[in-house]
Amino acid sequence: MNCLEFKRLALSDPNSGDHGFVRHSKDCPDCLKYVAGVRRMDNDLSRSLDVSMPSDLIARLQLNQEMMEEDAGQQDDFDASTGSGNVVAFQPMRRYAIAACLALSLFVGGFLASGQFSFNQDIGSDYEALLSGVVEHMNEQAVTPIWDANKANKSANTLLASYDGEMKLKFLSNLQFSRICPMGQYKGLHASLETDDGQVTFAYIKGAPVGEMLDAGYEGYVSRVKPVRGGNLIIMSRTNKGLQQANDQLEDAMYWDI
């Protein structure tokens, strides 16, 4: 191997174990210096790209897998209990249930819009952005999964650890779902609670807290935007009672570990 061939290989694979390459580097001090320089550039480049992985990412990777496995198990149970023929028969029932939910939503939305509630309808742009982000996401995600409380709480705490290390959530026995989701221009914790008045969605979005708490009728929902430490809590319910129940529960459950 001559010097030109050596330098070519040094640039392609500076750690090559090729016999001729190793021998030439021993025999030729200039080439040895050359390959050392290439290796140094590689090491410096590698160091310049060093980053530490978020401490909870491994836990999240494992949690995702456990959830996927649980979901697959539930699907198997469902398939086994219904049988393949019954699944087809089950579909129309689901459609009726969805239609009934939509009708109920329209009724409640109309009721709210008729001015039965004395909510503040003059929403500022900060509030509007938060509410529209949450509603946009809710509309995008037409179906919200319903998990058991243990799974939902475990997920919420794992996700919160990476999203906001200080905010914690005590165990909520009626928590049904939790995930970090994009919500309009924001990204936050999206979760749902089962209340006596149906499912209530809430979102915790990190950032500058809005000035004051605001209750508003928004897109058919009874909503609350509440400033909390380090962000805002947005609660969306179909009824005032559901909103209040969720609010009371979250007030007890949310705390900051600082």
Binding site: D44, S48, L49, D50, V51, P54, L61, Q65, M68
Partner: protein
Amino acid sequence: MTDSSNENDQGQVNYDIMDKKRKYALLIEAHSQDLYKYALWLCKDKNMAEDVMQEAFLRAWKSLDSLREAKAAKGWLFTIFRREHARQFERKQFQYQDVEEMDTLADATMGYDDRPEAFALRNALKRLPQDYREPLEMQVLGGFSCDEIATILDISSSAVMTRLFRARKKMRQILGHESAPQLGVVGD
């Protein structure tokens, strides 16, 4: 099942007889840090890197039964990641361009070394044509051999060697050093 029962005579982990969960845990433990480093560099955004990585690991879990050899695990995982990244990239290309424009700021917030010489090296890598940059990223960030890179990129080994040669040559030109650049003098 203990760790030792999963190893053959050469001390090589035998994935073939291993429980799927254990295999997955080992995969995470052994490769998540390298993959995260690669993911962040490719995505240029922490949230997106984490999202793509989580999605890639879920896909890996789904097809974990097809992974037989531990030594092939890293290449296999990086291939899954690259495909997932390509899928996400198609969807989120617009946001990507936004992020690219504010790279100096982004580098610091992503946790990279903020010294000017480190920035110059990253910048030189960024400026390489993609065909040259990809194999170099794999060799430097992933520690892959030329043959492994050839398999991942689905090109010949000699093509990988040529691209690596041109990538390093170009890096040196960009950095303005005839001799190899040294950390501490780049950008002085």
